[in-house]
Amino acid sequence: MNTTYETVIGLEVHLQLRTETKVFCGCSTKFGSRPNSQTCPVCLGFPGSLPVLNEKAFLYSIKAALALNCAIQSLVKFDRKNYYYPDLPKNFQISQYDMPLSYNGSLEITSGGDRKRVRIKRIHLEEDAGKLTHPAKASYSLVDFNRAGMPLLEIVTEPDISSPQEAYDYLTALKAILQYLRISDCDMEKGSLRCDANASIRKSGEKKLGVKVEVKNMNSFRWVREALQYEADRQVSLLEAKENIIQETRLWDAGKMATISMRSKEEAQDYRYFPEPDLVPFMVEKTIIEEIRKALPELPEARTNRFVKDYSLSEYDAKILTSQIDLADYFEECAKQYENKKTIANWITCDIMAQMNIKNSGIIELGVLSKNLIGLLEMIDSQEISGKTAKDVLIEMIETKKNAYEIVESKGLLQISDRERIDQIIKNVLSKNGKSVNDYKNGKKNAMTFLVGQVMRQTQGKANPSIVNEILKKHLAE
């Protein structure tokens, strides 16, 4: 990319709150149910039905707002955003316009080794729309209103983000905080966390913002980064070719790895916001705000610092462990049961996380209980198994949900640490490999490696390597 341009990005995150019921009615928010089985006159927009605000959704919103350093609006009201789309049963969405729940927040992130403060313009509460599906080759669409009326938090940044990677880092940090608050599943695959972006470019040093393009349909943080990179490159080449950038909405096509223009609307969208007459205003008492603030959990950054301090972990390890709340909890559970914290950190960040990646699962679904991981580590410490065998045992533990001891026992993997037995085996190997012994004595030190290999072969790799080395050296020195 030409260095004389800079990218200006603003992000809009939509987060489904993890309440039992929808935001304005008592229908379930459960994911994956039969289409339209979780609907009622309110969320289907039947005439005469009246919305009533879910208190928990409101309190969760305040929790998120406070964790992101926002000011809370003293008087909160809702507005109707009017537009026609088949996923919107009432032809308007209950949202918030000029008096959002909260505003003026910020999130500090680390990107490429630098600290950066991303300002959060506003966080407001609204209802989600239904879900449209387009059957292949059909000339129609199907609507499922189970999602209509789900509590949705909209988190909007100022255009403070200056690269696709920074956007990625912001989203990662934001997601970690939202997970720590336990107010949402934050699952992009299920659509409980979604992200749209605004991107423009301008000549470096210029104050005026360029023409803004909205990018949608990115269903992973990686796609957000790719789409923004594509968009920045596209806009630069337009400007370089002295062409105009059109203000429009573009969709990310992951198959084509490109953003594609949405058909331009005949007329500009005009949402004609007006106050929602069916909901009364809300005033949050200062004492309640302070109560929620005090009850905020330790957030990822504070936890990272504590892990470094309390467990003497490297900042790198601490960051990885605290990037997911369940992983951090798991580490702390293990730490209670085992002295060497660095060993635990190594096993979690390497072997366990590798398995989580392969299985695309979280630590809880992986199913290795903390006491079972510790059991495995203790078997290494007592030299019952080698570190290498332990790695295989861990995979077996994940597959079978058995503990380390059961697996080692049933598979006969117990390490041979019996000195007398090892001595016998070594003597046997030495008598059969006189040439190598002579080679060694004549200075060919790698003959030793060969001999160790022979001992291991005789024991199917179960001989304790350090004992083998020790005894072998003793014999060779004779």
Partner: protein, 116 residues
């Protein structure tokens, strides 16, 4: 409508009471509301709406400098919440009963094409 409200508010501040509703505004509001109007109807509604709006604009003649803005007609009522407790949803048959078109458990609608 937003454009119209903006006009009227700024006009109100200057003490001007007459605000024009023209065919262009009616046409755009009709489009946003998905109402199809022919030339003749456009003519009629523009005239009628202009007359209604100018009548309502009489309100602007009242001096409201000392009156706090009303955010809701029931200003005394605040913080009406419900607890996050599950209520029975409608039976699926009832949900789809009024649908002009359906397929399986879903409402069936004309396809919305978003991309070129």
């Amino acid at each position: 409508m937003v454009s119209y409200i903006k006009i009227s508010l700024s006009a109100g501040r200057q003490g001007v009471t007459r605000v024009g509703i023209d065919k262009k505004i009616v046409k755009s509001v009709a489009f946003l509301s998905r109402i199809e109007l022919d030339e003749k109807e456009l003519e009629i509604y523009s005239r009628q709406l202009a007359s209604i709006v100018s009548y309502i604009n009489k309100l602007k003649e009242i001096d409201t400098k000392t009156v706090p803005p009303t955010s809701h007609p029931m200003a005394a009522l605040k913080n009406v919440f419900r607890k996050d407790i599950l209520k029975k949803s409608l039976e699926l048959d009832d949900v789809l009963k009024n649908a002009p078109s359906k397929e399986g458990d879903s409402f069936k609608v004309p396809q919305i094409i978003e991309c070129k």
